[in-house]
Symmetry: C2
Subunit: 478 residues, 2 copies
């Protein structure tokens, strides 16, 4: 059977992914090492994802703000684990002027910075410095901040959306009076992420704590939401960190308590990024292209007038009337009245993953009907029904699609988690090419023998099992 | 009379502005040369400004996208005027790793980029390169793109919101098949800005074309919206450029026409930034702090329970009931039930410019009334009225405030524009300390004598008069 994307997922998942991105016109590699350009259709998806995350962030009492792009090297250097974690991928600004010298435009030697800056890889340090001034008394706590910004971590093996040198994200930074509150909040934000992935992205997650080996540079506890891609690999879709007093002590975030004593605060940070888009695409798409959950589809419905004759104008009017009705009930709809051939239009919107594809032709116009196909179910779902029936039920249908997509992934994931009771069993599973997550006693993975398996099979510890933290999930990962 | 902000505008406008920013908790200088941190209250204003601009941009058929932060030096170098305009303020990235050498964290000499990157000061070049690939045929035109991003222009004399090394903005980049369309679009986007400044920011603008001396680096025509601050100085609040074929030729943006021939496109760019916030604050605020137009006020109404006795809890409940009613009709409202003293709360929200301040006390609660004061009119507008009357009329009142604020600035501006018929007359006006805009024949300002005045009085040509382009507006400016 011919598919819109070749190779298929089965044939070569990694190439399929690349071609999917191109076919759906989502993004491209930029002419800047490791960076990408997110094209309008991709960005429209991100805006929907961002706005729905932002609503949740605000509802949790967090305030958005905006901190500088550049970080003085000196700040960055204040927390030892943090600098060790990020120094090797830091983009460094050393000059503030260009000059034409011998016909070549280059950094002006006379405009060299005495202290270089790095482009933020994350903002614990610069926000920590601000918090040290903004927090004075217990009355200022908790202080909960977030920013939606670009960050940069130099990437040697870039991959669109999954690993890019520059990426867009939200980074939340909260400070509390006690460790209990901070830790509880770090876990609460993780729950928020899990709920978001479920209800907005239609993706079930495995949520849990990272093992010490996989913690964020400068955290006491790192919590993560892990997703299972169709090739069985893990994608870390969001993390939330209990930073203890590391940054509070490095930056002097102290508050005057009710007892009149100065005490260090307890900070957390939590983030999700455009990386989530990679997960969204790899979880739901098929060999014909993108499949978008209605909550993040730029167009939830596309109407394609099938124009075999001279009634083009009338047909477009009919389409636009239906579209108006849908807009009135807040359905995102597009009438594709471009001058492409109808089959090309159809394939264009299949590849772009529009949840509901509506075709109308001569016959439909006469009958006051339309023909609708669900992207997630494909051809078998094709139905002809009266326009009014469609309009009345379309919101419910979109809700149903959202629900079905989540359930279908949940079902698939069940076969993607294998119980393992020994390293021997793990090795033979990996050797036989078994994909997915493996659940195993954590103490089995804290020895040299396991480290050898890590190297050999490129697996990693994803997170401890939330139900029983003596178990850990391991998998290959993006 | 004691004022919340000292010095007053009259005493020292520039210091007043600095203190206003602090008093309203909008932003602060960052520990990064020339950069600022926008604090939560300032950022909430920006989000409202941004979202309302974004709606207009999308309604005009423009698609948002996201291009990389870094620009290869080589790209930047392709348009001669452009590079001349921006090279002297470019932040340059030269290394991609840090290393601890002799106990000092510094750029790793082994991770030096062979081609340095600059942090985008604007994105004509990197978007031009993309357009050269995305535009193939006349069917691809017009292509209209926009991005909301941070940019960087190294600033030696920074000033919060007005001039900062890093700032946030939207930059639109459109490409057309003909010069007529491009030029018309550049002027259309300017009209959009003018409409936005009027209806969202309540600021009347002087819109017109820049003189050749003041054009954007690489433009054939630059159009601008200029605002008059309370000290008579000009603020350029937005610009729109007809870039001719400069960038199309530098980057090879060509399309196959209906005639089968390859033709260069015609590009435009248009932008507004966080600089608009500086204008918003300097146009509307008074000696007691910020005055915000309701359209961009994070809280349009603040309710302050006056808690002299033990009825705090009941009073807060009463306040929250009113707030609920307002939320139901989409009014942004806050109940300030913090444990500050009532007069301190009042002054806090006066300084932050909340359009309507509602006080409720024992008496109001018993009577089912409230006392409301308009921020723009001050004490004289204080009225006590039944809760239901207030709720029924609050939307109209907010609309009225928005309207009155615009009209009041418009009225004030009338006395801020002086007709000048000779350079002698101009000099004596400037010498006498006259503030505001001066309207003068353009040919009087294109000679050495005028250039001397420019130097002596730090004035500049703001724009040609749209009604009669043989006249130019000149003024001191931010």
């Amino acid at each position: 059977m011919k598919t819109a994307i070749t190779p298929t997922r089965q044939e070569n998942f990694s190439e399929w992914y690349q071609n999917l991105i191109t076919a759906a016109d989502l993004a491209e590699n930029a002419p800047v090492r490791g960076c990408m350009t997110i094209k309008p259709y991709g960005w429209a998806i991100w805006e929907l994802m961002r706005d729905q995350m932002d609503k949740r962030i605000k509802a949790s009492g967090v305030l958005n703000a905006n901190f500088p792009l550049l970080i003085p090297i000196d700040f960055f250097n204040k927390e030892a684990e943090h600098v060790a974690g990020f120094a090797k991928e830091a983009a460094v600004v050393t000059h503030y002027r260009l000059k034409m010298i011998d016909g070549v435009l280059q950094p002006d030697p006379e405009a060299k910075l005495t202290e270089p800056y790095i482009i933020r890889p994350t903002s614990e340090t610069i926000i920590g410095e601000a918090m040290s001034r903004w927090v004075q008394s217990y009355r200022d706590l908790p202080l909960k901040l977030n920013q939606w910004v670009n960050v940069m971590r130099w990437e040697m093996r870039p991959r669109l959306f999954l690993r890019t040198s520059e990426f867009n994200w939200q980074e939340g930074h909260n400070v509390f009076a006690t460790h209990e509150e901070a830790n509880e909040d770090a876990r609460k934000m993780l729950d928020m992420y899990e709920e978001y992935m479920k209800n907005v992205l239609a993706i079930p997650c495995i949520a849990g704590e990272k093992t010490p080996e996989e913690r964020f540079a400068g955290a006491d506890h790192t919590y993560t939401v892990e997703q299972i891609m169709q090739d069985g690999k893990a994608l870390q879709a969001g993390t939330s960190h209990d930073l203890g007093q590391h940054f509070a002590k490095s930056f002097g975030i102290q508050y005057l308590g009710t007892d009149g004593k100065l005490t260090y605060g307890w900070t957390t940070s939590w983030g999700t990024s455009t990386r989530m888009m990679g997960g969204l695409f790899m979880v739901h798409s098929d060999d014909d292209g993108l499949v978008l959950p209605p909550m993040v589809a730029p167009y939830q419905v596309v109407i394609i007038p099938i124009t075999r004759d001279e009634n083009v104008k009338q047909l477009n009017e009919f389409a636009n009337q239906i579209a108006e009705q849908l807009k009135n009930i807040d359905v995102r709809v597009l009438v594709d009245d471009s001058d492409m051939r109808s089959p090309d239009k159809m394939w264009k919107w299949i590849k772009r993953g529009v949840p509901l594809r509506v075709e109308i032709g001569e016959r439909e116009m006469t009958d006051g009907t339309l023909t609708v196909t669900r992207r997630d179910l494909g051809k078998s779902s094709k139905t002809t029904l009266p326009v009014s029936t469609f309009v009345d039920s379309v919101k419910d249908t979109l809700t149903q699609i959202q629900h079905d997509m989540f359930e279908s992934v949940k079902q698939r994931n069940k076969n993607m988690i294998t119980e393992i009771s020994s390293l021997q069993e793990l090795e033979s599973a990996l050797e036989s090419g078994k994909i997915g997550f493996f659940r195993i006693k954590y103490d089995l993975t804290t020895n040299d023998e396991f480290d050898k398996l890590i190297e050999k099979y490129k697996i990693s510890r994803r997170c401890l099992d939330r139900q029983d933290s003596s178990y850990v999930f391991i998998a290959k990962s993006y």
